[in-house]
C-alpha cells in the first residue's frame, strides 16, 4: 500500500531536501508555498514607526507519495536534509493513503507510484 509523507520546512532548505530525496530514489514530489508558525512564532516589521507582528512566516510544504515500506526512510531523509538545528525548522509526518491512480494510464495502487 501507499503512504503520503508530508513536510513543512524552511524555504531555504528546499534544494537540499529535493536533492536528498532524489538521491534516495524518490521519483516525484509536489512542492507548495505555505505560511505558518510553530514554536518559532513570527517576527516584527516597522513601517514609519508602526510595528506589525508577522505571525505567519513563509514555509515550503512538500508532499511525497511512497510505498509503505519506504515511508520511514523517506521521513528520515527529509529530517536530515532540512535540519539546521534552529527553531523553525519545521515538521515531517506520514499519513496512510487509501488509493492512488496515475492519470495518464489509469493504473492503481503501487503501480501508480
Amino acid at each position: 500500500m501507499t503512504k503520503l509523507v508530508q513536510a513543512v520546512i524552511q524555504p531555504h532548505r528546499l534544494d537540499d531536501v529535493k536533492s536528498a530525496l532524489e538521491a534516495a530514489g524518490v521519483r516525484g514530489l509536489t512542492v507548495s508555498e505555505a505560511s505558518g508558525y510553530g514554536r518559532q512564532r513570527g517576527h516584527t516589521e516597522v513601517y514609519r514607526g508602526a510595528e506589525y507582528t508577522v505571525d505567519l512566516v513563509p514555509k515550503v510544504k512538500i508532499d511525497v507519495l511512497v510505498a509503505d515500506e519506504d515511508a520511514p526512510g523517506v521521513l528520515d531523509v527529509v529530517v536530515k536534509a532540512a535540519q539546521t538545528g534552529k527553531i523553525g525548522d519545521g515538521k515531517v509526518w506520514v499519513v496512510p493513503v487509501e488509493d492512488v491512480a496515475r492519470v495518464r494510464t489509469g493504473e492503481h495502487g503501487a503501480d501508480a507510484l
Binding site: 516589521e45 516597522v46 513601517y47 514609519r48 514607526g49 508602526a50 510595528e51 506589525y52
Partner: protein, 434 residues
C-alpha cells in the same frame, strides 16, 4: 520692453517639465504605501488632479492668482488672462529674466497640480473618487489660488502685504507656505472630516510595494530640482545655490530620519529613507536659495528628525492621515519656513527679496524669525479652516466617504472596475466585448 532670453527660457521649460513629473512620481510614492487593493485609486487621485487642475489653471487659475487687481487680498482678476489669452510677454511673471508669458504661466500650473495631489495622501482607501475630483477643483480654486496670490501674487503675505509693512518681507522661495503647509493643513482637515479607515491602528496596513515608494521618492527628488532651482526663474548662480541646497538638505534629512528610527525602532528602513528624502525636500523648499550650505544642513537635520517623530502623532491623537501628509508636509513645511528666520542670509549667490532681513544667526536680529512664524501660522489657519468648510459642505451634499463594503473589499475593483494585480481578482471570464 520684453527681451527674450533663450537660455533662461529653455531652463524654465525644462524646469516646468521636471515639476510636472513630480505628480506622477507622487502617485508612485503614495501608491506603494497603500494596500494592494487600493493602489490604483491612490494613483488615480494624483492623475485626476493632474488633469483637472491643468484645465482650471489655463482657464482662470493663472489669471485669478497672478492677474491684476487684488480682491480681498486673496484673488487677482480671473478674467484678465482667461484661457491664457490676451497677454503680452511684457506681462510675464518672469519678464525680468526674459521668459515669455506662456512659459511662466505653464511653470506655475505644475505647482498648483502637485499641491492638490499632495493632499490625497491623507485620504487613502476610502474617499469617493467623484468627490475627490470635485474637492480637487473647489480646493484649487478657493484655497490654492488665494494662498498663491497672497504669497506670490501681491496679496497679504507678499512683499506688498501688511506683514511686510509691519515686520519684514516674508521669504518663501519655492512654496513652503503655498505648497507644503497648505497641502499639509488641508490634508489634516480633510482626514478629520472623512474619518478613520476601518481598522485604523488595529489592522496592519502595510505598504504593499516599497520599491514603488523608493522609485517615487527618487523621481520626486529629480523633479524637485525644477521646483527649487526653477523658482529662480533664471539659469544663474542663485539657481545653482537652490540646486545644491536641494541636494544637501535632502541627503541630510534622509540620514537623520534613518538614524532616528534606528535608535527608536532598531531598524533603518527603506520607507524611512524615502520619507526622509521627501521631508528634506519639503523643508528646503521655502529656503532653497535663501540659506547657505550650513543652513541647508541644519534644515535637513531638523526636518529629518522632527518628521520621523511627527508621523507617529496620528496614532496618539487618533486622526487617520493615512500617508502622513501632516507629518511630512505640514511639519516639514513649518520647519523650513520657520528656520529661514534663523538662517536666511543675503550672502553671495543667495536670493533675497527687497525688504527681507537676515536671520537671527546671520546678524539680522529676530524680526525675520517673527515674520516667518506669523506667515506660517496664517497659512496653517487659512488652509485648515477653508478646507474644513469645503469638506463639510461636500460631506453634506454629495458625500465624501465610500461605503464600508467598498473600503473593505477594495476601492480599485468597486470604483475603478480594475485590480492592480492578477492575484487580487480571482479567475475571470470575458462577458462582453465592445
Amino acid at each position: 520692453m520684453f527681451e527674450l532670453d533663450s537660455g533662461n527660457t529653455a531652463f524654465m521649460i525644462l524646469a516646468a517639465s521636471l515639476v510636472l513629473l513630480m505628480t506622477p512620481a507622487l502617485a508612485f510614492f503614495y501608491g506603494g504605501m497603500v494596500r494592494g487593493k487600493s493602489v490604483l485609486n491612490m494613483m488615480m487621485m494624483s492623475f485626476g488632479a493632474l488633469g483637472l487642475v491643468s484645465l482650471i489653471w489655463v482657464l482662470y487659475g493663472y489669471s485669478a492668482t497672478f492677474g491684476s487687481g487684488n480682491y480681498l487680498g486673496l484673488f487677482g482678476n480671473p478674467f484678465e488672462f482667461f484661457g491664457l489669452q490676451g497677454a503680452s510677454d511684457e506681462s510675464s511673471l518672469m519678464a525680468a529674466t526674459g521668459v515669455p508669458f506662456l512659459v511662466a504661466a505653464g511653470y506655475q500650473a505644475t505647482f498648483a497640480i502637485i499641491t492638490v495631489a499632495l493632499i490625497s495622501g491623507a485620504v487613502a482607501d476610502r474617499m469617493k473618487f467623484g468627490s475627490w475630483m470635485v474637492f480637487a477643483g473647489v480646493w484649487a480654486t478657493l484655497v490654492y489660488i488665494p494662498m498663491a496670490h497672497m504669497v506670490w501674487g501681491g496679496g497679504h503675505l507678499s512683499g506688498a502685504g501688511a506683514i511686510a509693512e509691519a515686520l519684514s518681507v516674508p521669504i518663501d522661495f519655492a512654496g513652503g507656505t503655498v505648497v507644503h503647509i497648505n497641502a499639509g493643513a488641508a490634508g489634516l482637515a480633510l482626514a478629520l472630516v472623512l474619518g478613520r479607515r476601518k481598522g485604523f491602528g488595529r489592522e496592519p496596513m502595510r505598504p504593499h510595494n516599497l520599491p514603488f515608494v523608493m522609485l517615487g521618492a527618487a523621481l520626486l527628488w529629480f523633479g524637485w530640482f525644477g521646483f527649487n532651482a526653477g523658482s529662480e526663474f533664471a539659469a544663474d548662480a542663485t539657481a545653482g545655490r537652490a540646486w545644491v541646497n536641494t541636494v544637501v538638505a535632502t541627503a541630510v534629512a534622509m540620514l537623520a530620519w534613518l538614524v532616528t528610527e534606528k535608535v527608536r525602532d532598531g531598524h533603518a528602513t527603506s520607507l524611512g529613507a524615502a520619507s526622509g528624502i521627501v521631508a528634506g525636500l519639503v523643508a528646503i523648499t521655502p529656503a532653497a536659495a535663501a540659506v547657505d550650505t550650513w543652513g541647508a544642513i541644519v534644515i535637513g537635520l531638523v526636518a529629518g528628525v522632527l518628521c520621523a517623530l511627527a508621523v507617529g502623532l496620528k496614532y496618539r491623537f487618533g486622526y487617520d492621515d493615512s500617508l502622513d501628509v501632516v507629518g511630512v508636509h505640514l511639519v516639514g513645511g513649518l520647519v523650513g519656513t520657520v528656520l529661514i528666520g534663523l538662517f536666511a542670509t543675503d550672502a553671495n549667490a543667495t536670493w533675497y527679496p527687497d525688504g527681507a532681513l537676515n536671520g537671527l544667526f546671520y546678524g539680522g536680529g529676530a524680526t525675520q524669525l517673527v515674520t516667518q512664524v506669523v506667515v506660517a501660522l496664517i497659512a496653517v489657519v487659512f488652509s485648515f479652516v477653508a478646507t474644513y468648510v469645503i469638506a463639510l459642505v461636500l460631506r453634506a451634499t454629495i458625500g465624501v466617504r465610500a461605503p464600508e463594503e467598498i473600503e473593505v473589499g477594495g476601492i480599485d475593483q468597486s470604483v475603478h472596475g480594475e485590480s492592480a494585480y492578477e492575484t487580487l481578482g480571482g479567475s475571470r471570464v470575458v462577458t462582453e466585448v465592445k
